[in-house]
């Protein structure tokens, strides 16, 4: 019985592969059509592939990619590292929540990109303002979900630990932390997505290297193939990072009953 369901589920998953391939082919066809429809300078797949090969060859593509990734990862790690303890404190101590929450709500309404002008004025045009903005983006999304995770811990689990003799510290490390891990990981995924979106936009505004900067340069020279290469790389890398975190999430929270 179990084997049967497992088999049919695997079968279902396999059956989406042709659809995915078909979807890719269809997209490619639309692209070719658009390229041939006479839009000024609109490059076809081949032209873009050639440009990708040359920019891999001269090292600019990976140079830009690493510059962007370095910023994202620095800002993201800093943001999460601060968000997790702050989120726990907010969930565990109501006064802390009262003090911090109004500011969180406020800054959540301000898109991180809107902070860039201020950050540049205050921090110059080096790496700091860009990393700061990414830090802010990942902090805001992670802190809210960590906090949500802590306040939604099932109180019967906390009671179950207490009647087995657990004091506050043990309840926290033994119940609250593991029970809120799924929320934290979801927050991290959202945070990473927000960071990636933010870095590219930040580089459009002020940078000397990076995927966003390269697009900005290409725009000046009407260099559409380069813009396409950058866009595709941004999408693929974002997708890859998201999948990696999703995989980690599945691994770490496999104990959850999925509904």
């Amino acid at each position: 019985m179990a084997e049967h369901t497992a088999g049919s589920r695997a079968g279902k998953r396999r059956s989406t592969v042709p659809l995915t391939i078909g979807s890719g082919l269809l997209g490619l066809a639309v692209w070719v059509l658009l390229a041939n429809s006479g839009i000024q300078g609109f490059p076809g797949p081949l032209e873009v592939a050639e440009r990708a090969v040359t920019s891999i060859g001269d090292g600019t593509l990976f140079g830009d990619l690493f510059a962007s990734l370095r910023r994202v990862l620095t800002g993201f790690v800093l943001g999460v590292a601060l968000a997790v303890p702050v989120g726990f404190l907010m969930g565990w101590y109501p006064p802390v929540r009262g003090l911090i929450e109004p500011w969180l709500q406020f800054f959540r309404m301000v898109p991180p990109l809107a902070i860039i002008p201020l950050a540049i004025v205050l921090m110059g045009i080096g790496e700091t303002p860009k990393i700061f903005v990414i830090f802010l983006a990942s902090f805001l999304s992670s802190v809210v979900s960590t906090f949500q995770g802590v306040v939604s811990v099932d109180s019967t689990l906390i009671n179950a630990a207490r009647v087995l003799g657990a004091k506050d510290g043990r309840v926290f490390t033994g119940v609250v932390v593991p029970a809120s891990t799924p929320f934290i990981l979801v927050g991290m995924r959202i945070g990473l997505g927000a960071s990636w979106a933010t870095v590219v936009a930040a580089e459009l505004i002020a940078a000397q290297e990076g995927l966003g900067y390269r697009m900005q340069q290409a725009q000046l020279y009407y260099d559409l193939p380069t813009i396409f290469v950058q866009l595709i790389v941004i999408g693929l890398v974002g997708l890859l990072m998201d999948r990696l975190l999703l995989l980690a999430e599945r691994r770490l929270t496999s104990w959850q009953e999925r509904r």
Partner: protein, 264 residues
Amino acid sequence: MSPVTPKIEFRDVSHGFDLGGETFAALDHVSLDIADGEFVTVVGPSGCGKSTLMNIAAGLLEPRDGQVLVDGRAVHGPSPQRGVIFQQYALFPWMTVRKNVEFGLKIAGVGAEERRRTAERFIDMVGLSDFADALPKTLSGGMKQRCAIARAYAVDPTILLMDEPFGALDALTRVQLQDRLLDTWSRERRTVLFITHDVDEAVYLANRVIVMAARPGRVHRVIDVDLPYPRTEDMRLSPEFAELRREVWHSVYHQPSPIERTSP
């Protein structure tokens, strides 16, 4: 005061919940003595304060008035001496059966070796040996409840507080767990306070059945069950059992009218 100190003593316990400005009386002057080694069941209509009573005994809730004494000492806060089995199982979903059962021992500072041995014994007792390394999500309701029972027993409490532990189970599993519970109880004579909706279950298990009334929650009647242990399936069919069941059912069904007519 009686010459023998009761194991659990509810002294004039009252509790209310604030509901939009006014206080809802969940428990009103409940007094009840439970002797050491006694098996007491509590029945009553939904919302009559059974869980509230149990949470107070567990030390998870401070009563507004009155107090609960265990071995003559006032209860403040929970203690591993009073094991609790919750209606919703409350297993830690990220821990295997074994880890769940070991949790209380770990807190008590028991070494890894002994922890494992003790856990093994209780997992075996509830018949989950083949599932010791399974996660709760892979267990059936009855298996989860058995794991919860093993977890509570592992820290060797002298009192077991059980809040409708078998409420969500099918009839067959329920009867099996009832017999198993009585079996261990008659060997180890822990004091048990067992809450249930099920009149049959209340009579089958208990030395004494406490029938509660609602609005406000209070003790309505106390019915002694003078059936010998071990109790058997045949006993359920005996005229004495039928008579007791009728009596309990009657007092659950024919509740005294609510006292507080003033509140809506």
